[in-house]
């Protein structure tokens, strides 16, 4: 561990005295800072900032950057039972990209993201602004309730919804039955994706509300107050002041959720024994898992991971760029 603490060695020489002189030295140091300009006072200190960042960065590098680099590397090789590992260039990629199985899953997750993310963002933004302005009664209580699903692992959430919706004994199916309606067959091809959308919305909306709510809270109060003095009403304050200010936060939330949605795995994987429609390539991640661990084609799985990451980056970056063109982000 480097020594950050210790004598104030980086202070300008004016202030360099013993402990006893600290009090007297302070005004001098301030004067010196004013004279020499703030920059020169702080540059030497600033270099130490790297020390604060380093511990995180080392782990980040070892456990995220290295594996990713390794997967790119290994995706250029192919391991055969006979013949060992040989460099095969892009053949894993041509196989992954030429594979209809991959694209079927990709199309499905994109559809999923295109449905789930907008619905959730709209709901979450609505509640977040209402809580922020204190429009809802019992706002604190509702906030806490909405946040509850965040405490529920995706595995448990899926198991709960799966059990509630399952054919014959599921509680919802039995309610349909009592009403004299036919079994809606929630896990049939028509409803399955919808079920997963509902599960995902249930899991993530409350968390998104809290993220946006926190962002809204950081909007300076005087901005809102002066708008009120100018006679702006609730709707205007939300759409013209609050939301534009937190736009970067909204964009971040959208991107995080799109990325999450495109990685869809836990929900379909857990439901697969109940829902025969969930195939081995239902989503790209399910497919990658099966290629890696059922078929044991690790190199091909690595190539699929790279392609998937690439597509997701492309989509996110594309989204960021369109937002930037509108002149709204950092």
């Amino acid at each position: 561990m480097p020594r950050w603490a210790g004598p104030p060695d980086a202070l300008p020489s004016v202030a360099g005295g013993g402990d006893g002189q600290r009090q007297e030295a302070a005004p001098l140091a301030v004067a010196a800072r004013r004279a020499t300009g703030r920059r020169s006072f702080s540059t030497r200190r600033d270099r130490r900032g790297i020390v604060f960042v380093l511990p995180f960065f080392v782990l980040f590098f070892m456990f995220l950057v290295v594996p990713l680099a390794y997967s790119v590397y290994t995706s250029f090789f192919t391991t055969r039972m006979i013949g060992g590992t040989v460099f095969t260039g892009l053949s894993n990629y041509t196989q992954a990209l030429g594979d209809g199985a991959f694209w079927t899953g990709m199309g499905r997750t994109m559809l999923f993201a295109a449905i789930q993310v907008p619905i959730m963002i709209v709901i979450a933004t609505f509640f977040a602004t209402m809580f922020d302005l204190g429009v809802a009664r019992f706002g604190g209580g509702f906030r806490a309730v909405f946040f509850l699903p965040f405490a529920v692992p995706g595995v448990v959430a899926t198991a709960m919804w799966g059990s509630m919706l399952q054919t014959r004994v599921g509680v919802f199916v039995r309610i349909f039955e009592d009403l004299g309606l036919p079994d809606p067959n929630f896990f049939g091809p028509g409803h399955l994706l919808g079920v997963i959308v509902v599960i995902a919305i249930w899991e993530w909306t409350g968390f998104t509300v809290i993220l946006l709510y926190t962002a809204l809270k950081s909007v300076p109060r005087d901005v809102v107050e002066s708008a009120i003095v100018d006679g702006a009403r609730l709707g205007r304050i939300v759409t013209r002041i609050k939301l534009p200010i937190i736009r970067p936060a909204i964009i971040l939330v959208v991107i995080i959720n799109v990325i999450g949605a495109l990685q869809l795995f836990t929900e379909p994987y857990l439901l697969s024994p109940m829902a025969p429609n969930i195939s081995a390539n239902y989503t790209p991640t399910v497919y990658m898992y099966n290629v890696a661990f059922s078929a044991q084609y690790y190199d091909l799985a690595a190539a699929i991971a790279v392609v998937l990451a690439f597509i997701i980056i492309l989509i996110s970056a594309g989204f960021l760029l369109t937002q930037r063109r509108k002149g709204a982000i950092v």
Binding site: I50, F138, Q166, V224, L308, I312
Partner: protein
């Protein structure tokens, strides 16, 4: 429209008819929110709250039932006999594909290390990014944030392959170290430190001769408490709830996380209409697995409300 509203001062006391004060302390009346708006929004909140609570209510009710009642009685209400305690006992004594207690302990270990480690690392990094202008700061920050664009699933199989080289698959550190790395936390910490730790205060401390570590621990950290608590919670929760990463890098039942164990149990039970007692045991186990996080939320709730300390700087 241009009627000048009184600036938000002490609201004139309208003894009983007052609308609640807004979230930022501004009386709602000043926003022009009518009683009707308040009621409609409250109803919308209520509906979403029902949607949120339905599965939680169901899991609680179901874990009090025998498997026969689970299959035959109304799912959202209790039925006799009330067997919650024996179900819970079964959860802990059942040895089906591993021990639930073991999984609970494992998950507690992973989540606390991931939570504490992740909070410390990201608080330091966020503070470093927010309050120091070192060379390469922006590049480094963008690099770290860039990783947010890369799906975690893209790391999982590669991580497994790299772990294979270092014999880290199916080991505890192999499971919990990734939990400590959270770029989102670094982002939150940077934003929060940027807003709540004034440069003037840091400079003043430096002039008074405090070292950087001391400034971080004694001045910055207390000001960042709401962010620290929030990030700690985020990290604990994401570690506790994570399924995919342990699922890929660990296949030892002894080191299973709760989610891994529950998945195995769930798959074991979910033949529709299964009459195995195990069905309700799994449901009860699912309920138990939620409780620790719920408790944590309730305990920590008052710390993570809002930008609490933003005001204390000027006061």
């Amino acid at each position: 429209m241009s009627t000048v509203a009184a600036p938000a001062g002490p609201a004139p006391a309208g003894p009983k008819r007052r609308l609640p004060a807004g979230g930022d302390g501004v009386p709602l009346r000043l926003y022009g929110a009518s009683r009707r708006t308040v009621n409609l929004v409250t109803i919308a909140c209520g509906l979403f709250a029902v949607f949120t609570l339905v599965p939680i209510w169901w899991i609680f009710v179901s874990s009090t039932k025998t498997v026969n009642n689970f299959n035959s009685t109304f799912g959202f209400w209790f039925s006799r006999p009330f067997v919650l305690w024996s179900n819970l006992k079964e959860v802990f004594s059942n040895r089906e594909s591993g021990s639930f207690l073991q999984w609970l302990a494992n998950t507690a270990i992973y989540a606390s290390i991931g939570g504490v480690g992740g909070t410390v690392l990201s608080a330091m990094a966020g503070y470093g990014f927010a309050r120091f202008n070192f060379r390469g700061r922006n590049v480094l920050f963008l690099f770290i944030m860039g990783s947010l664009l890369i799906p975690i699933v893209a790391f999982a199989v590669p991580l497994y392959l790299v772990y294979a080289k270092f014999h880290m698959n199916s080991t505890m550190p192999g499971i919990f170290i990734p939990f400590m790395i959270s770029p989102v936390s670094v982002y939150l910490m940077r934003v929060y430190a940027g807003g709540s730790v004034p440069r003037e205060l840091i400079d003043a401390a430096r002039i008074d001769g405090a070292g950087e570590a001391r400034i971080f621990l004694r001045i910055a950290t207390p000001l960042m408490v709401p962010a620290l608590v929030t990030v700690f919670m985020l990290n604990v929760v994401s570690a506790w709830n994570n399924y995919f990463l342990p699922f890929i890098v660990n296949n030892s039942a002894k080191l299973y996380t709760l989610t891994q164990g529950l998945q195995v149990w769930f798959w074991h039970t979910n033949i529709p209409g299964s009459t195995e007692n195990f069905t309700v045991i799994t449901i009860a186990a699912g309920m138990i697995s939620i409780l620790p996080l719920l408790t944590m939320f309730i305990v920590l709730q008052r710390y993570w409300r809002g930008g609490l300390l933003l005001g204390s700087l000027t006061g």
